[in-house]
C-alpha cells in the first residue's frame, strides 16, 4: 500500500507541475473563490447578527442582564440587589437605567418638519436615566457620541439626543417616523415627562448619540440623578434594567446562579445577554445560516463539477497513457490515487490562498471597516470550527472530483485503451 501511495504521489506531483499553467491558475483561483464564498458570505450574514448581539451586549445588557419580572414594572428592592452586585467578586461593574416616556418639542415656529396643519413639532420618545460614570466605565456609551459631548458631573438640564430623532438620518427609510429636526448640540428642546402635569421643561442638547441601540437612538438620555429630581417619587420605584459586566474568565452562568441565589426570583429576571436578546435575533441568525449554507452548497457543487470536468478531460486525453501505465503493471488504484492527489493539490493551494486572503486581507479589512447597518456594525464572523468544517468539505469534494473521473477511465479495458479503441 505504501508503494501505491508513493507512486501515486510521485505521478500527481508531476501532473501538477506539468499541467497547463493557465489552467492551473484558473482552477486554483476558482477554488480560492469558492472557499472565500463559503466563508465570507456566511461570515457576513451571520456577522450582521453577531455584530448586533455584540453591540447589544457591549452597550446595554453586559454579560448579565437584570430586568423586573412581568408582574413588576420596575426592579423592586433594588438597594439590596445593588449590594449583592457590589459584593460579587466576579462582577466588574453594573449600570442601572430608569426608563420613562416623554413628549419632546422643539423650535416649533420655524421647523420645516412640521406637518401640514400642525402648529408645532412634537414627538414621543423614551427617556433613559443613566449613571453617567458607570455607562462610561462599563459600557463606553460615551464613545458613541457623534456630535457634542458626553455628560459631566456639573451638567444641569442637559440631555443627549438619539440621532434617530434628528433630521440627519436618511429620511427615505424612515418617512413615517417623526423627527425633531436638525438639532445641533447647544440647542434647546422642551420635554414633558410622563406623569408630570407641569409645563414642559427646557433642556439643552449637549450631544447626539449613535449607538445602534434603538433604546438610545430613538430616545433621549439624561443623568438619572436629574431624572429622579424631575420625576420625584416615581423614579424611586426602581430601575427598569441593569446591565452587568463580569470578569473575563468567568462564565455568565456562574454569576447568574450566584445572583439568583441571593435575590428574590419573583422580583427579577437574571439572564445572559444571549437569553435576554431573545429568540428574534436567533431566528434571523438561523435563517441567515440556512441561506448561506444553501449558497455554500451550490458553490461546492459548482466547484466539484468544475474539478471533475477538468480531471476527467485530462484523464480522457491521457487514456492511452493510462492504458500503458496499467499495461506495465501500475495498479489502477495507484492511478486513481494519483488523480485524487492531483485534485487534492489544487484544492490545497486554493484553500491556502483563500485562507491567506481571508486572514491578511478580509478579516483586517472588515475589522477596520465594519459594515454600517442600521441595527448593527456588521462584522466578518469566522470561527475556527466553521472554517475547519468548510475546508474539510472542500477536501472531501476534491477527493470525489479526483477519484471518480480516474475511476471511470481506469476501469476501461487496458488493451483497448493502449490501442486506442
Amino acid at each position: 500500500m505504501f508503494n501505491v501511495v508513493r507512486t501515486a504521489w510521485f505521478l500527481a506531483t508531476k501532473y501538477f507541475s506539468k499541467f497547463s499553467k493557465w489552467t492551473s491558475a484558473l482552477i486554483i483561483f476558482v477554488i480560492a473563490l469558492t472557499f472565500l464564498n463559503l466563508v465570507v458570505v456566511s461570515g457576513l450574514l451571520v456577522g450582521l447578527i453577531e455584530g448586533s448581539v455584540l453591540g447589544i451586549k457591549e452597550l446595554r445588557t453586559g454579560e448579565v442582564f437584570i430586568t423586573p419580572t412581568e408582574q413588576n414594572q420596575h426592579i423592586k428592592k433594588y438597594n439590596e440587589l445593588f449590594s449583592v452586585l457590589d459584593n460579587n467578586k466576579n462582577i466588574k461593574g453594573y449600570a442601572p437605567r430608569y426608563v420613562s416616556d416623554a413628549r419632546l418639542y422643539k423650535d416649533y415656529k420655524t421647523s420645516i418638519y412640521r406637518r401640514a396643519g400642525e402648529v408645532d413639532v412634537d414627538i414621543y420618545a423614551t427617556v433613559t436615566g443613566i449613571d453617567i460614570e458607570k455607562e462610561k466605565d462599563f459600557f463606553e456609551l460615551d464613545e458613541k457620541i457623534i456630535e457634542g459631548r458626553w455628560f459631566v458631573d456639573t451638567d444641569v438640564n442637559s440631555v443627549i439626543l438619539g440621532n434617530r430623532l434628528t433630521a440627519s438620518v436618511d429620511e427615505e427609510l424612515f418617512t413615517d417616523e417623526r423627527v425633531l429636526g436638525d438639532v445641533k448640540p447647544g440647542e434647546i428642546i422642551e420635554i414633558q415627562f410622563e406623569n408630570n402635569t407641569s409645563a414642559p421643561q427646557k433642556f439643552q442638547v449637549i450631544g447626539i448619540i449613535n449607538s445602534k441601540q434603538p433604546e438610545y437612538d430613538y430616545g433621549i438620555i439624561i443623568p438619572s440623578r436629574e431624572l429622579r429630581g424631575i420625576l420625584g417619587q416615581s423614579a424611586l420605584l426602581g430601575p427598569d434594567n441593569i446591565g452587568v459586566r463580569i470578569s473575563n474568565n468567568v462564565e455568565p452562568a456562574v454569576v447568574i446562579d450566584s445572583i439568583k441565589a441571593s435575590t428574590d426570583s419573583t422580583l427579577i429576571n437574571v439572564r445572559s445577554a444571549e437569553d435576554s436578546i431573545g429568540k428574534y435575533l436567533g431566528n434571523i441568525r438561523k435563517t441567515f445560516v440556512l441561506l448561506s449554507n444553501a449558497l455554500g452548497t451550490i458553490s461546492i457543487v459548482v466547484v466539484t463539477v468544475m474539478l471533475f470536468i477538468v480531471i476527467f478531460i485530462s484523464a480522457i486525453t491521457k487514456q492511452r497513457q493510462i492504458g500503458i501505465l496499467k499495461g506495465i503493471g501500475i495498479s489502477p488504484l495507484t492511478l486513481k490515487l494519483s488523480y485524487m492527489f492531483l485534485s487534492f493539490m489544487y484544492t490545497f493551494v486554493g484553500v491556502v490562498i483563500g485562507v491567506l486572503i481571508l486572514v491578511f486581507l478580509l478579516i483586517p479589512y472588515f475589522d477596520a471597516n465594519p459594515i454600517d447597518f442600521p441595527f448593527s456594525d456588521g462584522i466578518l464572523f469566522v470561527t475556527l470550527p466553521g472554517l475547519i468544517t468548510k475546508i474539510f468539505l472542500l477536501f472531501v469534494m476534491s477527493i470525489f472530483a479526483g477519484f471518480l473521473p480516474a475511476h471511470l477511465i481506469t476501469r476501461r479495458n487496458t488493451l483497448n485503451t493502449i490501442l486506442g479503441r
Binding site: F2, N3, V4, R6, T7, F10, L11, K14, Y15, S17, K18, Q321, I324, L325, K326, G327, I328, G329, I330, S331, P332, T334, T414, L415, I418
Partner: protein, 230 residues
C-alpha cells in the same frame, strides 16, 4: 532447456457481426528461458493478438498459457497487473512514454511501484540508460528527444527491473533504418548480456534474423518455426 513460457491450444476469437472470427487457431508454442524469439507474418495474421495473450494483457478464448511452468488461468486482474509489474517488460510500437515525466522518471516509475527506494531506483535507471547509450538525456522530456531515443528509453524502462520476459511489438516500426539498427543492437545486447527472454514482433526479416528463433504466423496458425544458426 527449461521453458519459461508455454502456450497450449491457444484460441482467440472476436465477434465479427453475428459470428465469431478465430484470430488465433489452436496455437502451441514453447519458449525456452533466455531465448530471443521473433514473430513475423503478414498484417492481420494475428501476431499482436498472440503477443497480448502471452503477455497477459488480454484473456484467451480458450487454451492455456503457463509461465515458469505455472498456469496463468485463475489470475484476476489485480494479480495479472502485479505479475506484469514484477516479471514483464514492454516495448510498444509508438512512443509509450509518460509526457509529464522526464527520461529518468519514466524509467524509474515501475521501480518505485515495486517498492525500490528512490535513490536505488535512480541509480538503476541511470545505469540502464547509460547502457543503451542515452545516459546524457536523463533530464529531457519525451517531447524533447527523437523517436529512436524515445524507443531506447522505452527499452530502458522495460529492462530496468530485470524482468524475465520482454515483449516488443514492432519496436522499430516508426523509426528510420539507422535508428532501427541501433534499437536492434540494444535488444540483441540485452538478450546476450542480461539473458532476458525477448519476444519481438517485426515486419522486417533482417531484424527478425537477429533473433535466436523465428516463427511465422499466418491466419492464426504457426506457418514455420526455425532456429537461426549462429
Amino acid at each position: 532447456m527449461e521453458n519459461i513460457l508455454q502456450v497450449k491450444n491457444l484460441v482467440k476469437s472476436f465477434k465479427d457481426g453475428d459470428h465469431l472470427k478465430k484470430v488465433l487457431n489452436e496455437i502451441n508454442l514453447d519458449i525456452p528461458k533466455g531465448q530471443f524469439l521473433s514473430i513475423i507474418g503478414e498484417s492481420g495474421a494475428g501476431k499482436s493478438t498472440l503477443l497480448y495473450q502471452m503477455s497477459l494483457l488480454d484473456v484467451p478464448t480458450s487454451g492455456n498459457i503457463s509461465i515458469f511452468g505455472k498456469s496463468t488461468d485463475g489470475m484476476n486482474i489485480k494479480e495479472q497487473a502485479k505479475f506484469r509489474l514484477n516479471n514483464f517488460g514492454y516495448i510498444f510500437q509508438d512512443s509509450s512514454l509518460i509526457k509529464e515525466l522526464n527520461v529518468l522518471e519514466n524509467v524509474k516509475l515501475t521501480l518505485l511501484a515495486k517498492g525500490i527506494s528512490n535513490k536505488k531506483a535512480e541509480e538503476m535507471s541511470k545505469e540502464t540508460l547509460s547502457k543503451v547509450g542515452i545516459g546524457d538525456l536523463i533530464n529531457r522530456y519525451p517531447s524533447e528527444i527523437s523517436g529512436g531515443e524515445q524507443q531506447r528509453v522505452a527499452i530502458s524502462r522495460a529492462i530496468v527491473g530485470k524482468p524475465s520476459i520482454v515483449f516488443a511489438d514492432e519496436p522499430t516500426a516508426n523509426l528510420d533504418h539507422v535508428t532501427s539498427e541501433k534499437v536492434m543492437v540494444e535488444l540483441k545486447k540485452i538478450s546476450e548480456e542480461l539473458k532476458i527472454t525477448i519476444i519481438m514482433i517485426t515486419h522486417e526479416l533482417k531484424y527478425a534474423q537477429k533473433a535466436d528463433r523465428i516463427i511465422e504466423i499466418s491466419d492464426g496458425n504457426i506457418l514455420s518455426d526455425s532456429v537461426i544458426k549462429k
